[in-house]
Symmetry: C2
Subunit: 370 residues, 2 copies
């Protein structure tokens, strides 16, 4: 990593070195509050997804505003958050492999830890580790409600897995019914239809398991794109939104329904124009190492005259309408195409307010792959 940082607390925003990952604290705090307001007094709880931010400072603020805990995706991510004082973590992913399960059980000695399963062999491995360690974890069965990634199909098979769990030292917590692709369906109508179907499948599966005499306490899922639908479904009772804290270009392209919450862009890649040899293009110092392009190119913030065309490792090419439109050395703010893998490229968030750097927050779970 860089031997020096892009900024330090107290610096004027104009002095931040580039590229840097900048958090607009006012917008971020408004986003946190909007989410808390949207869930207050409802029969659902928030388990904020930390894969979006990988930052304990943010997780602790989400919990302070009412989140029951966090989700993350990896055992090693969970370890970072446990170390930072988070006491209730769902690893919303299947865990396979002896080393991972050993670390998982160690964490279960310090925090409430949950994990997903979609195969009997995973339950057997977890149960054996629980037996051997004297510790236990919450186990959620992942149901494929439309994402077609992990998860068993809705229906009877879930009851079989639930029976395996309840007859082991593990705790059966409920069903993970996250519909990832629905988050980015562009129209409210498409999102509504997808989550209506997902909720029906979740409820049907829940009833099948309960018909076997096994209560299903939690139906978990939802993301920033659809969470009002899960909130109002009468089926889901734990929501796993993550990106709402930042918002990225991809989420910004969803058409909002009349009730959808206007979360703001709070996360930016600050970049400098480092080459300007023609009137038609400006080269900036933020490329693939500064902004993930898996969901498309970043957007240049508040500069609709500029279009970020393509990225190479260390450069971005921006189309410019005229020689006068940007200057060599000028700084621009980019909205990343996709916040999660972009955050994973940085070691710290440069948090700004009122034209000053207020703090640097370590992205402590960056690169926690295991």
């Amino acid at each position: 990593m860089s031997p020096w940082k892009a900024a330090q607390a107290g610096d004027p925003v104009a002095d931040i070195d580039t590229p840097a990952l900048v958090l607009d604290l006012d917008a971020f705090e408004r986003n946190l509050k909007r989410m808390a307001d949207a869930l207050r007094g409802r029969n659902v709880r928030l388990r904020a997804h930390a894969k979006s931010h990988k930052c304990p400072e943010i997780a602790l603020r989400q919990i302070a505003l009412g989140a029951v805990g966090i989700c993350c995706q990896k055992v090693s991510e969970a370890a970072v958050f446990v170390q930072a004082g988070v006491t209730d973590i769902l690893i919303s992913n299947e865990i396979v492999g002896a080393a991972k399960i050993r670390h998982l059980m160690e964490l279960a000695g310090s925090a409430r830890i949950g994990v997903l399963v979609d195969d009997a062999s995973q339950i057997q491995a977890l149960a054996a580790a629980a037996q051997a360690s004297g510790k236990s974890v919450d186990v959620y069965i992942e149901i494929d409600v439309g994402a077609h990634r992990c998860g068993i199909p809705p229906g009877e098979e879930a009851a079989h897995l639930a029976e395996l769990i309840v007859s082991s030292p593990l705790r059966f917590a409920g069903l993970q019914c996250y519909h990832g692709p629905a988050q980015h369906l562009r129209t409210p109508q498409e999102r509504t239809a997808a989550i209506r179907d997902a909720a029906e499948l979740a409820l049907w599966t829940k009833k099948i398991i309960e018909a076997h005499g096994i209560p299903v306490e939690i139906i978990a899922g939802a993301g920033t794109g659809t969470f009002l639908l899960e909130r109002d479904s009468g089926v889901y009772n734990e929501l796993q939104c993550g990106s709402y804290v930042f918002m990225d270009r991809d989420y910004g392209e969803n058409t909002r329904g009349p009730d959808d919450i206007p979360f703001e862009h709070a996360l930016f890649v600050l970049t400098s124009v480092m080459s300007r040899t023609t009137g038609e293009r400006a080269i900036v110092d933020a490329g693939l190492k500064a902004s993930s392009v898996d969901s498309g190119m970043p957007l240049v913030w508040k500069r609709s005259d500029l279009k970020y065309l393509k990225a190479s490792d260390e450069h971005g090419v921006i189309a410019t309408p005229s020689p006068a439109s940007v200057e060599l050395g000028e700084k621009l703010m980019l909205i990343p195409g996709h916040c999660d893998p972009t955050v994973n490229l940085y070691d710290s968030l440069v948090c700004v307010r009122d034209g000053r750097v207020e703090a640097l927050w370590p992205i402590a779970a960056r690169g926690a792959l295991l």
Copy 2:
């Protein structure tokens, strides 16, 4: 980052936790030797590009085998390599901004440092910093020989910049004439034509500058895809190949000409099958956080029956021909689509030989963005 590592020296390869970035040391060493052999006795020198590996252990091996030094892209990367003992570094990029130039001049006190320019204002800023610090740097003028990114057009303008450099405390080193897109032109004919044009433009510009009485010592450029062409051009005398140490899927798709060197894939993402709920797909634990997809999906190594279809943050979806083709928990080796941004996702390389982990090499310049 993860509080624990994927492996330690001495572990059997079968015990490496996933996802992990694995270096096949035998293949890597053969690649290093092939490059040294290809340049021995020729009138060109290698300045290996460290942006591909970001790893001092590798840079020092390249130098031990004859490289004059390294290239990197950022001042903070250069600082990491200077700290590791590299004494001759070209930052093959334009440097803009007071903080960067301050750090650059500090480094110039400990190593020979070069940098590119493509604008008079950059020269003025560097010259002022050299004047103030009593240190100097090598300055290369970047010429756009076909990449259409940074660099001035070939021709007279370069002589103007060269005159500015020689009348300052800076050292004029030569011309940077790298043709990036040519590296991935798929046929030898296309690559030959592109580098023939680039060499002509470089030579023409050199002659113009020399007509002003300013000697042009170095013409630098080349990458893994074209370096034999630059080597044999009679124009280029410093080559900046990087990816040859690893080879990635994208380079593997170039059609080799009869003389092209058969560099081997030496870099792999080791991944585990973590979900296997249908016969048609296996979900692996290596997604966007484990393998950059900017140049397309990774390839499953030596498993032509398996196709990596798509990546999300923590998951890869692999199409499988039948339920028996892969098992839950099975480990697969992926060849990343693009090595440079993939390496940037990891904190260490797990170096293997003869079925054992031989060493972990820190990717010390990972995330060095400034």
